[in-house]
């Protein structure tokens, strides 16, 4: 088995000195000036401790020094060194490491960092190689991270013992740091990476044949497809849940974009806000519908990864024709939280306040609060 191991040593440094992130050279310089010290390595080491015992017989590939090799050696693992990075590591080093690991055919990439790190890796490998993220950054909005370094360590340990057999797609998200420093959360969905299905180790077996994430998604997509009306124009929003629907319909959908379907045929692909408005205008109001999903983590239904669905687009669609669909496990993760409609127009957001049904499977929906 081949495992890639990668640490973004500067991840998380901006946090301790209230810079809310560490993206960009200037920010790093300021963080260092303010006395921030690297902490990602220590967090990565916490995870390595938990899987080192099962590392025998595996080849570990890592960049030299603080980007990985040092941490592995400290835990008694001798890695194959990919390259030596300059002292001040940058996004290009992360991307280079991810690329080399993918080329070497690794079975898993274990990495420590924050949302910026996840974005860099995602840009190189997409969902081609499974990953386990050790949370070490300031911003952890992405679903590719374990909750804690120890949890990441356990997951890798399970993987090394051959106990991980199922994977799910998890969101790679990041916020605009500049805006965030002005207290504006402007988040975007950047893509999906493949992560081990953690529930595999948790799954309750009283009822037998427990529905895994893949089964839940298939159940949901089938029900949505069966519920569609032939003469209605459906906008299908971004995300892996809605992608399952386009797959089910046999149309070539866009993972991070908005597509349009009518009568089972694709009538628009990766549409802009302008193109959506033009398309909707051709259909009578009651024949316009929208199917979107909830973006995991914070629970956004609008304003994250689907900015094409601008306030004027949303106003063209009857509210009762908007279907929010998400798997039961995704909604379980949001238990106790409210959904967020951040359309960019506060008066429209107010219209979505209250309770919205979220379709979670065949003939079942859950009423969820929108705050």
């Amino acid at each position: 088995m081949k495992i890639g191991f990668l640490v973004n040593p500067i991840a998380g440094m901006g946090g301790s000195v209230a810079l809310k992130g560490t993206d960009g050279e200037e920010t790093l310089r300021r963080a260092l000036e303010l006395g921030a010290s690297p902490m990602a390595g220590a967090r990565a080491a916490e995870a390595v401790k938990l899987f080192a015992a099962h590392a025998a017989g595996c080849e570990f590939l890592a960049p030299e020094g603080a980007m990985g090799a040092d941490i592995l050696r400290a835990a008694g693992i001798s890695p194959t060194v990919l390259f030596e990075a300059k002292e001040a590591t940058a996004a290009v080093d992360t991307r280079r490491a991810a690329r080399l690991m993918a080329e070497a055919g690794v079975d898993l990439i274990v990495f420590a960092g924050g949302d910026g790190t996840a974005r860099d890796i995602c840009a190189e490998i997409g969902d081609a190689v499974p990953v386990v993220g050790i949370p070490a950054g300031v911003k952890i909005h992405s679903g590719v991270y374990a909750k804690k370094p120890q949890a990441a360590g356990m997951l890798v340990s399970n993987f090394l013992q051959g106990r991980v057999k199922r994977f799910v797609l998890a969101e790679v998200e990041d916020i605009d740091e500049e805006a965030f420093r002005d207290n504006i959360v402007r988040a975007r969905l950047y893509g999906y990476m493949r992560v081990p299905d953690d529930r595999e180790f948790m799954q309750e077996r009283k009822s037998g044949g427990g529905a895994g994430t893949a089964e839940e998604a298939a159940n949901l997509a089938t029900f949505l497809a069966l519920s569609m009306d032939e003469s209605t124009v459906y906008l299908i929003g971004s995300g892996s849940t809605t992608m399952q629907l386009t797959n089910k319909l046999g149309v070539n959908g866009t993972l991070l974009g908005v597509d349009a379907v009518k009568g089972g045929r694709q009538i628009g692909k990766d549409l802009t806000s302008q193109a959506i408005k033009k398309l909707l205008a051709e259909a009578p109001r009651e024949k316009r519908a929208l199917i979107i999903t909830v973006i995991g983590g914070q629970g956004h239904i609008f304003g994250r990864g689907n900015q094409q669905l601008s306030p004027d687009v949303l106003r063209m669609i009857p509210k009762e024709n908007i279907t929010v669909a998400a798997s039961p496990s995704k909604m379980a993760q949001l238990f106790g939280k409210a959904l967020i409609a951040d359309t960019g127009d506060p008066s429209l957001d107010a219209e979505f306040k209250g309770y919205i049904p979220v379709v979670t499977g065949h003939s079942r929906k859950m009423l969820f609060k929108v705050s």
Binding site: R205, S207, P328, R364, L367, K369
Partner: protein
Amino acid sequence: MNNLERMKKFHQAKWNEPVIYEMSEPGERAVLVPGPCCDCVSTDDALATLPKEMLREGVANLPEVAQLQLVRHYNHLSQENIGVDGNIDIGQGTCTMKYNPKVNDRLAGQPKVTEMHPLQPAETAQGILEIFHRTGELFKEISGLDVFSMQPGGGSHGVLALASIVRAYWRDKGEEEKRDEIITTLFSHPADCAVPIVKGYKVVIIQPDADGYPDIEAFKAAISDRTAAIFFTNPEDTGIFNVRIKEFTRLAHEKNILCCYDQANANGLLGITRTAEANFDMSFFNLHKTFGAPHGCGGPATGMVAAKKELRPYLPMPLVEYAPEKGYYLDFDLPKSCGKIKSFWGVAPVVVKAYSWIMALGADGLREVSRVAILNNNYCMKKILEIKGASISFPNHPSRIEQARYSWQKMKEDTGFGTADVQRCIADFGTHYWSSHEPWVIPEPFTIEPSESYSKQDIDDYVAVLAEIARMCYEEPEAVKAAPVNSTVSHTDHDYFDDAAKYAITWRAYNKKYDGYFEPKKK
């Protein structure tokens, strides 16, 4: 003797027992089956009297084993088992594991019960029909409702009966098409959502509020003139009794919605509060579990339906009735009935056991059952919450009724070990433990229901086991990873249970899929 030390030295029987087909030796017999009737008729003559399509072409593939080897085989298997009679069975929360008096088994095992046939004319079955009828009469007091059907063969089957009654009712009212939604709550039993879907309904799920009660504002948003019925479990799986329950039924009744009460968790309510007081139109009770017949793990059981008299026309048929002039009889004259939920009229041995249990206790005894169950639960809860790493769902909510859902979230964060690890470990102590129904919204859940049967010592011992496992998680991680080491099996590969291409529940299916021991067949 220190009970924890005693339990730590437990070792489960492990016989490496073959599948009985593998023991088969041609010609061996455990019993000699008598011939057709007498020597004057041959087997072939007897078979010739049967219609051709009923005849088997070859000989049935049955294992051939002599009696001693057969007894030994099943005795070994029974020793690898666990159940109420063999362990402190309070870890199977929501299942109301309690002592099932042996005398009731004797009563139900008498030829008077076992030799009955459900197709016997009613006038030759007066005794068993009387027990059915009297059990219904007892439930007039227990539930406050008026009419009863003991046809459903289990709890979820009781939900199916309720959903079927709902459909029959709206069909009769001419609103079957319009009323296509059912409302339930997130912590109601999963069958309250799944079964109405089977019955063709769309189900809307209400989440709990911060105190653990179903969110009444969400409920107001959910009810409409499309709502056919509400299906509420109370107390819910969390052990929280919905004290606003009458407000929910009032809102539902304002829109003429039928109210269905899942009373599978009634063990803390007997003689204290009733379905009628919560203004529900119908409910079901588990005569197994709560009323002393064994939890059958899938049956045979009885999910007895109770309803207001206005709903009598829609109940499953036949109903067991009494008239002075003809005695006990089966009433099939129900033209608006939802039909049959099950063949015949119910699982008689379960009804006999429940009837005996209720009669032995009386009204005061039933109330005492619930009071002790609640006391046991709250005592157990206090002790569990003293364990490092353990917490309870909805901690701001005060005491629980008969069970409680807990969480190992803190322990998971501290040690990486969660409820699945505890579940593996506990097998080494000769007992067991269950986590939670779906949805898994309480992190690392476990559900404990110490019903009235267990002594203070039992509860102390069980909690001591949980505390010991928590200590191991914090202090002896390697031991936790290896567990169970004293059980029949250690770690199992779940792939076989999840993959339809891999699992086999019969020997015939196994042989289609595998050569030898779990060697997949080569294509």
